[in-house]
């Protein structure tokens, strides 16, 4: 963390001290130097992606074959490294790691290529595209922000003390979420409770450890997103939000609209809408999107199952929406509030029980967790 804080201070101070014409080059240069220092392979891959994306997206209009070729090449590299990880995990040799940030920047490149092909983005100078791809705040853990808003901020930016204060506040929130709420309250506090309950109430103990996993996942990931968004604000860029109180949502579709928003909206635009256009079947599109979201995290049967589980959840919710008009209308506000609360609790449990599939090393162990909770 400290080394990243050092890079953050270097980036922000250099950025605002330099003349405006040098700022973009400084930002891309520092990001490249950071990657080169911490993950040289990733720096080389991103440089290759950036060059290929720029070269292939220059013609206007851009041909479908070009778009398909560059997207296929990017996805191939992503799959290649994700497969390496899966094979290494299978052999119990866990030393190999995916090139830093590859999952995020490959999806950013695909987004840019598709939008260029669709004509919603005009061709841009190499410097603009490179500033977008080599943007340190979002390089490591997202969000998978979009080129359009980024480019608008790039053209508009200027010294703004309000954004600076907001950025520092977001970084503070991220830090407190990770260090205090996740690492201390949830990990230590709930751990003690899990251990105490283990002897007399094993089912409650396993249930609490599942809740702990879900809460930790949210606090850690949304904490990193807060830091990335805050870091972006310090540079005058408003990065898209990645979380919006996901555990307070009433159904699984709403949950996926507020959890890892940058990835779920990417899949909505480039998987869900494509499947809808081709097959006109919302259920198939929902399952396909959730499978991509699952496999984006890791190419393994655990994440495949997790994606399928969430896809089936969304399909069930879609079917329920069709039946809903046949049910009696709730008139009483008190009953509506109770139903709202019950929906939130049900969605929360559906989600955290789904996380068991990916938190446990094997399906057998995940099933053992379910058995411990429901059979005692």
């Amino acid at each position: 963390m400290l080394s990243f804080v050092g890079w953050m201070v270097l980036t922000v101070s250099g950025y605002w001290l330099l003349p405006e014409r040098l700022r973009d080059a400084w930002l891309s240069g520092v990001s490249f130097a950071f990657l080169l220092t911490h993950a040289p392979l990733s720096a080389v891959i991103l440089l290759g992606f950036a060059l290929a994306t720029y070269y292939f997206t220059r013609p206007d209009p851009m041909s479908g074959k070009r778009a398909l070729a560059i997207c296929a090449a990017i996805v191939f590299v992503l799959i290649y490294y994700k497969l390496q990880i899966s094979i290494e995990f299978a052999d119990a040799l866990t030393t190999v790691a995916i090139p830093l940030g590859l999952s995020y920047y490959s999806f950013r490149c695909v987004h840019y290529v598709i939008e260029r092909y669709k004509g919603t983005l005009a061709p841009h100078p190499a410097g603009d595209l490179w500033s977008y791809l080599f943007f340190l705040p979002t390089l490591l853990a997202g969000p998978i922000h979009r080129f359009g808003p980024f480019h608008r901020d790039m053209k508009r930016r200027g010294w703004n003390p309000g954004l600076l204060a907001e950025g520092l506040e977001r970084i503070l929130y991220g830090y407190v979420k990770i260090a205090f709420l996740s690492n201390y309250v949830v990990s230590q506090g709930l751990n003690r409770l899990v251990t105490d309950l283990n002897a007399d109430h094993p089912a409650a103990s396993v249930y609490l450890s599942v809740v702990k996993g879900g809460l930790n996942g949210y606090l850690q990931f949304s904490g990193y997103s807060d830091i990335a968004i805050g870091f972006g604000l310090l540079l005058g860029y408003r990065i898209m939000e990645n979380f919006n109180w996901p555990f307070l949502r009433r159904n699984i579709a709403e949950f996926w609209g507020s959890w890892h928003i940058s990835l779920s909206s990417w899949c909505r635009d480039y998987v869900y809408m494509v499947v809808i256009a081709l097959a006109r079947r919302p259920a198939l599109a929902a399952v396909a999107s959730m499978l991509v979201i699952g496999l984006w995290h890791e190419l393994s049967y655990r994440y495949l199952l997790w994606g399928l589980y969430n896809g089936i959840g969304i399909v069930a919710w879609q079917q329920f929406q069709r039946l809903k008009p046949l049910l009696p209308r709730v008139e009483s506000p008190a009953v509506a509030r109770v139903l709202h609360g019950a929906s939130v609790v049900l969605t929360f449990h559906f989600v955290i029980f789904g996380f068991v599939l990916v938190h446990e090393p094997t399906l057998g162990q995940a099933l053992a967790v379910y058995r411990s909770i429901f059979e005692g």
Partner: protein, 45 residues
Amino acid sequence: MYAFLRKRLPAGPATVLVGIWYALLIVLVLWSVVEPQAEFRYVKL
């Protein structure tokens, strides 16, 4: 946070509440520096 409070409260109470809020956050950050179990570290999820 101040903008959020200011929309719902008069300036005085909003300023006091935001002061308490930031003081609490700063205490938590300082405490996380001295409490090893609350340090900033990556947890493999």
